[in-house]
């Protein structure tokens, strides 16, 4: 059988396609399981990577300030995050292209450029916060960040330079599975199970009622659970993996399982924060929280939380940098696939490399304006999120583009409700951070 030369819609370059290689199985059950395992990846990665350093900070702060009272809000976000990412799954599989390319082609240059620039800026600022978290955690672990941060950046770059999507995916899925350590942390530190179940299933307000501080923490929880880069990342990832129409149901299952894992890990982070609160500690940052927990749960627990914080930042960094590189490559028409070797997709890999290296470098600069950067992340994410979701919703109603994969009326009811709520919340958050005098009694802006 001779190899064919085909143009891959995802990467935009001619690629030599190997003859189809498959595995023969005997039962339907094995076929389904194996197909799922082959499709599995983008959904889990996008969801777990969303629990990045900022998320660890936000969830543990929520636990440290309000105990387990806000667990029900996190659980409420499970269907929300699933429904949004499920739309991306359909769009990615039907078009075989990334989100940035779709906006550019269907809404024109202005929107294409605006979405791209906003995404690149907010992603870069988020990367700086990821490396700031790595810096902080390494310091507490007794590792000199001057060596540890460049080493982490080098590993993150090497991870994508193998010229194999599968190799990258396997590495990242392994890192995602490490997130299960949060379950053990919560199990060891957690309050009685009855209290967790009660606060998770029955909405309750913390003592003191609804205050501006509580309001903004809730907005931050929502903001950190649904981030703009996720839309761009998962669609590009699906396009790069070349998922087929027949894979839709397995990609949905992958996304749903990912949503369950990430929400459960978020609950565990909140429980860890609640444990430090119960022992009378005041929350400053997650690294300090780990040290505080270490005083009553032992140094092993402290080190584990710090390592999980680094893992969260590493996962966030690879996913966010890739979403930037994919989006830029799609819009510029550059070859942009993890399947391609370095020499065939130089622009794509160079952008990833520059994002990671520059973000790591900024963190190592003494007295870098990190607070200003965190502020920028919050506001720009708030600005981009509603527009990104509105475009997603419009694209998903485009029957010319999606045919049978377009939204059904019930999809639209659910999604427009989510869009309206997110729009209001992001508007409040962006306004609060950009003009804090509007809400004088609120604490400093929460972390995205």
């Amino acid at each position: 059988m001779t190899n064919k030369i085909l143009t891959m819609p995802a990467s935009g370059v001619e690629t030599e396609v190997m003859p189809v290689r498959g595995r023969v199985v005997k039962s339907k059950w094995t076929r389904d399981l194996l197909t799922f395992l082959m499709v599995f990846g983008p959904g889990l990665i996008v969801m777990v990577a969303d629990n990045d350093a900022g998320a660890v900070s936000t969830y543990s702060q929520a636990g440290a300030q309000y105990g387990t009272h806000l667990l029900w809000i996190v659980l409420l976000l499970l269907p929300v995050t699933y429904f949004i990412q499920e739309m991306v799954v359909r769009l990615g599989i039907a078009t075989g292209k990334g989100h940035a390319a779709m906006i550019y082609q269907r809404f024109g240059k202005w929107w294409g450029l605006f979405s791209l620039v906003d995404l690149e800026v907010v992603n870069f600022l988020t990367l700086v916060t990821e490396f700031a978290a790595i810096h902080l955690a390494l310091n507490k672990l007794g590792v000199d960040p001057r060596y540890g941060v460049p080493l982490a950046a080098a590993c993150l770059i090497l991870m994508v330079l193998t010229g194999s999507y599968r190799r990258w995916e396997r590495t990242v899925v392994f890192l995602c599975l490490l997130d299960f350590a949060w379950f053990w942390i919560a199990f060891r530190l957690g309050p009685p199970m009855g209290q967790i179940v009660k606060h998770a299933l029955a909405p309750s307000m913390p003592a003191g009622g609804i205050t501006p501080e509580l309001m903004f923490l809730v907005i931050a929880i929502v903001g950190t659970t649904i981030a703009p880069w996720q839309l761009f990342f998962q669609q590009s990832c699906i396009a790069d993996k070349r998922l087929r129409f027949a894979d839709v149901k397995w990609a949905r299952l992958d996304t749903f399982l990912g949503a369950c894992v990430t929400i459960t890990a978020a609950v565990c982070m909140m429980i860890a924060g609640a444990a430090s609160h119960a022992h009378g500690f005041r929350f400053n940052d997650p690294a300090q929280m780990a040290t505080d927990i270490g005083t009553f749960a032992g140094p092993a627990m402290r080190n584990l939380i710090l390592l999980m914080m680094i893992n969260a930042a590493v996962l966030g960094t690879t996913a966010i940098s890739l979403s930037s590189a994919w989006a830029y490559g799609e819009v510029r028409g550059w070859p942009h696939s993890l399947q391609l070797p370095w020499r065939e997709a130089r622009g794509f890999y160079a952008l990833y490399l520059v994002c990671v290296a520059a973000a790591a470098g900024i963190v190592l600069i003494p007295r870098a304006p990190l607070q200003l950067i965190i502020l920028g992340v919050q506001v720009l994410a708030g600005v981009i999120l509603p527009s990104a979701i509105i475009f997603l919703q419009l694209l998903l109603n485009d029957k010319e583009l999606l045919g049978e994969y377009a939204n059904k009326p019930w999809n639209n009811w659910v999604n427009w409700t989510i869009v309206i709520v997110l729009f209001i919340l992001s508007l409040i958050l962006a306004a609060q951070v950009a003009a804090p005098n509007l809400f004088p009694s609120a604490v400093s802006g929460p972390t995205t």
Binding site: V17, V20, G22, V25, K28, K97, Q105, L243, R244, S387
Partner: protein
């Protein structure tokens, strides 16, 4: 006749095929034909959608200007 397959063998082969499934990884499979998005061009929009997007554009420009102003104030 040597070339003629035994009906019993054929039946058995069909049965075997029914009981075997080939699973192919998406990256090993022949790429599917997807929607040609470039040929579709810009999305046709109703007047209300166009107006909503214009409003969104005004909101985004205003928010970005607000952010730039705020960051400049903080940087001083």
């Amino acid at each position: 006749m040597a070339t003629m397959a035994n009906p019993i063998d054929l039946q058995a082969e069909t049965q075997t095929r029914k009981n075997h499934f080939v699973v192919v990884h998406p990256l090993d499979d022949v790429p599917e034909t997807k929607v040609d998005t470039e040929a579709l061009g810009p999305m046709p929009m109703t007047r209300s959608v166009r107006f909503s997007l214009l409003s969104l554009r005004a909101y985004l420009i205003l928010m970005v200007l607000l952010v730039v102003y705020h960051v400049m104030m903080l940087a001083r």
